[in-house]
């Protein structure tokens, strides 16, 4: 039973078809990188998986949940699927600790003491224990992103989605975030990451998907894909180095 099953997804923005029939299957514990030019549909695909975008044809099943418009079912799905955004999106009026504790408390009724222990635990996993009482404003971009990862982890998701999470960071700060992601991967988390970090995709992701014009253009084991591109589009993309 795959952790993520995507079959024949079509999506339109107005008259523009952004996803033209995408199918993908990800087993539990696998790490899949999705690469491609801007406009290739990769972020849109990722956002379909947790329901932030809708699609008009095809089906998606993730962590045992079918993707629907039903709000209650969607919320259940989102308890098992975490997402980390390019712009971190931490809640600025809450401390780091409060950011992390909020969702477990209000969606799963986890009692305060337990929530705090959970929050401290995930914060330690991303290496920011000392920032528990700080406000997001006082953290660097890399630190905020790691808190964002911790916030998602606190929900104990079965699948984690990463939407270009290092693209908004200064180069010196991407390393700390990638390290956390690598740790998660080694720990067996099912991960789908849209990324420009080719090196990371090649070394950490089990499989890499190259998207082009709304379709999966090439897909395969990461090292293989980067070493031997089968299509001119991927070859050019890899050569250009993207980023």
């Amino acid at each position: 039973m795959p952790a993520v099953l995507i079959e024949g997804i079509h999506k339109r923005f107005g008259s523009l078809e952004v996803l033209k029939g995408v199918s993908l299957s990800v087993d539990a514990g696998q790490v899949v990188a999705i690469i491609g030019r801007s406009g290739s549909g990769k972020s849109t695909l990722l956002r379909c998986i947790n329901g932030l975008e809708t699609f008009h044809a095809g089906k998606i099943e993730v962590a045992g949940h079918m993707l629907t418009q039903d709000p209650t079912k969607l919320r259940e799905l989102r308890k098992d699927v975490g997402i980390v955004f390019q712009s971190y999106n931490l809640f600025p009026h809450l401390t780091v600790g409060q950011n992390i504790m909020l969702s477990p408390r209000i969606t799963k009724n986890v009692p305060q003491a337990q929530a705090m222990a959970l929050a401290k635990d995930v914060l330690a996993q991303v290496g920011l224990s000392e920032k528990f009482d700080s406000y997001p404003d006082n953290l660097s971009g890399g630190q905020q992103q790691r808190v964002a990862i911790a916030r998602s982890l606190a929900m104990q998701p079965k699948v984690m989605l990463f939407d270009e999470v290092t693209s908004a960071l200064d180069p010196e700060l991407t390393g700390e975030v990638l390290l956390v992601m690598e740790k998660l991967a080694k720990g067996g988390m099912t991960m789908l990451l849209v990324t420009h970090e080719m090196n990371f995709a090649r070394t950490v992701a089990d499989r890499t998907i190259f998207m082009h014009q709304g379709l999966i253009w090439e897909s395969g084991p990461s090292k293989e894909l980067f070493a031997n591109p089968q299509t001119p589009e991927l070859a050019n993309f890899v050569k250009a180095g993207a980023h």
Partner: protein
């Protein structure tokens, strides 16, 4: 003809107290009604949105004097005769509700879209998103314009005499009718309004600076 002496000045000052009371009540009731209209304005039901938008548009497109008259004579037509203080409070509350609804709706919409997405992605219901994520941020954003509007409210209370209420302005006019020393009287009246409004204006500008400073991170 009387002279403009201490008893007259004290009468004016006491009436200033009534102006403040009126402001406070109109603001309080107007906030509750305004909050309701702000939520209606953001509702998923189209007719509710349009109704609220219509209400806000009408009240913002007519003079406050007309809001006063319409509520006063409208209620009269329904057979309800309110004493001046209540008439003034009710009318001003309606005026306040429309402007605050617009300010607060604007504040809610100023909260970045990504905050909604992040909250939804954490499996929060819409109500939870409003309560824990959106409203705390919207309230902060709304403080400068809300305080700024309070200044407008204080100034606009100066016309409630048309429904028979004796506020600071009316008191000044009454003393003027008795003493004909308009220059001194309205200087005093103006100074009292200024003393109330100026600190509020400063507060609003200060809050705006604080808001911009924290936003630029």
């Amino acid at each position: 003809m009387q002279t403009f002496g201490w008893p007259e000045a004290l009468f004016i000052l006491r009436s200033a107290g009534w102006t403040l009371a009126l402001t406070a009540i109109a603001f309080f009731i107007g906030s509750i009604v305004g909050g309701a209209f702000a939520i209606m304005r953001l509702s998923r039901l189209r007719w509710l949105r349009r109704f609220a938008a219509g209400y806000i548009l009408v009240i913002q497109s007519i003079p406050v004097l007309m809001v006063l008259f319409m509520s006063y004579y409208g209620l009269s037509a329904l057979g309800i005769e309110l004493p001046p203080f209540l008439a003034a409070s009710a009318s001003l509350s309606i005026y306040v509700s429309a402007y605050l609804a617009e300010i607060w709706r604007g504040s809610i919409e100023s909260v970045p879209r990504q905050q909604w997405e992040a909250s939804a992605s954490l499996a929060h219901t819409t109500a939870q998103t409003y309560r824990h994520v959106i409203l705390p941020q919207a309230i902060r954003i709304s403080l400068p314009p809300t305080v700024g509007f309070l200044v407008q409210l204080v100034k606009n209370t100066s016309i409630v005499q048309v429904v028979g209420f004796v506020d600071l302005m009316r008191a000044g006019m009454l003393v003027n009718n008795a003493t004909y020393q308009a220059f001194q009287i309205f200087t005093l009246v103006g100074a009292i309004y200024f003393a109330i409004c100026f600190p509020l204006s400063r507060l609003s500008r200060h809050l705006e600076k604080v808001m911009n400073a924290s936003r630029s991170h």
